[in-house]
Symmetry: C2
Subunit: 286 residues, 2 copies
Amino acid sequence: MKSFSSSREMQAMCRKLILAGNRIALVPTMGCLHEGHLSLMKTARERGNILAVSIFVNPIQFGKGEDYERYPRDIRRDSRLCAETGVDLLFCPEASDIYATDHSVFVDETVLSQGMCGSFRPGHFKGVTTVVAKLFNIVQPDVAVFGHKDIQQALIIKQLVRDLNFPIDVVIAPTVREADGLAMSSRNNLLTDDDRRVAPCLWKALGLAQSLAAGGYKDTAGIRDKMTELIQAEAPSACIDYIEFANCATLHPTATISGPTVVALAVRLGKVRLIDNLVIGERDAL
Amino acid sequence: MKSFSSSREMQAMCRKLILAGNRIALVPTMGCLHEGHLSLMKTARERGNILAVSIFVNPIQFGKGEDYERYPRDIRRDSRLCAETGVDLLFCPEASDIYATDHSVFVDETVLSQGMCGSFRPGHFKGVTTVVAKLFNIVQPDVAVFGHKDIQQALIIKQLVRDLNFPIDVVIAPTVREADGLAMSSRNNLLTDDDRRVAPCLWKALGLAQSLAAGGYKDTAGIRDKMTELIQAEAPSACIDYIEFANCATLHPTATISGPTVVALAVRLGKVRLIDNLVIGERDAL
């Protein structure tokens, strides 16, 4: 495994590999790697003969008062995991390499980014699309793999690639879960023991939505109420940012479940904000 | 010369050429080609072994009430000129190929784009950076050549390339002028005979600024007044959008000429808006 902290050197190496006929598959991450990331890497490995992973906690996608400072970091462990997983190129830049002090160019998605997490984290997706565009230009991959857990992000990246003509296939890989259903996330490490114990309530609420829809219940407002009740019963101190029902491709909110519908939610447990989602109404829709 | 109207086919062809070891040099244009464009092509030809030219009148860089509809187009003549000039790849897409009906991703430069033409054409440079990012991803050039006449655009493109890590060298090529000093522009075709006769007043005003600075006159407000007088005397019906003095690299406005300074101006003659600029205070600064 070759490691790079300089975007210039990473770009030069990637260019050399591409011109030699290699196909690079990229997994962009913010580090503190878990089974979910390793699963993305396995998917990427099947799509390219060079596996590249970036680890960068991107400051501009965190708002004021969000958890940029306390976002978990463990680059030694991450680096070891990447080496063990067969990563060929590891890119771990400093923020000062990625953003010049007079950085002034941003990439913005203006439709898909409006609801859900976009409503609660203004500027978040602009930070995401900007850094992903940069990573795409540095690594120049044939394929990039993103996780289904961050479904809004994944669909925004697909739109970024289509609308800016990046010659890249975007693959959305399934969410990996703990035994109790909690979606893997670096932020799970930040939960208190009590909050970790009740955190599977997100997944239970999604399962409830699926059962209700499968049983013929189509009114999303009613399903949302029952999901809210479940979460409040399991985790009384939880704060629900949103529970949304939307078209799987456009993320347009829907009042009735007709065809594949993504149910997405964001819940705060203490200082930790967790997200999760599930496609209901039809299987294998994404 | 191979011509393409499909961005997908153009991108596939460029990718093939790059992987075969070629260096592509791109000249993005809005067509209605003149000697200025041909000069950019000559510069590009020296920098790559494949010369690519795009012709696309980009709707999203024109504001409401601007001249998108009446912007001159002559694709047959352009195509012939490109073939004669040794262009290898000509890319002439339709707007519907470049912008899906649900296009929602934009690239925005937020500092250099604020003054000068940015003040008078809100959204213009956002349209420019968005389409140029798209063209860069479609053509994937090693080098891209832009004209010095559009100095603010050229500097914004340099910032775009740096801030989004495009692996592209941006070359700014000198302005080509008519015998009477008027900077070559596709919009010159739209001038009435009377306006065409007085249009060199922009170049004369820039020359006056250069003479004054060379003579030790450093106060930009005073120079601006004299330039304004000259234009009003030569073209009484002209409407001056701006005459600005700025740092050559940052475009920060400057009150005093100390070191290389770009003098840029935009003047409307009838319905036609002309721009021009000159670096004074020091030669060969850009």
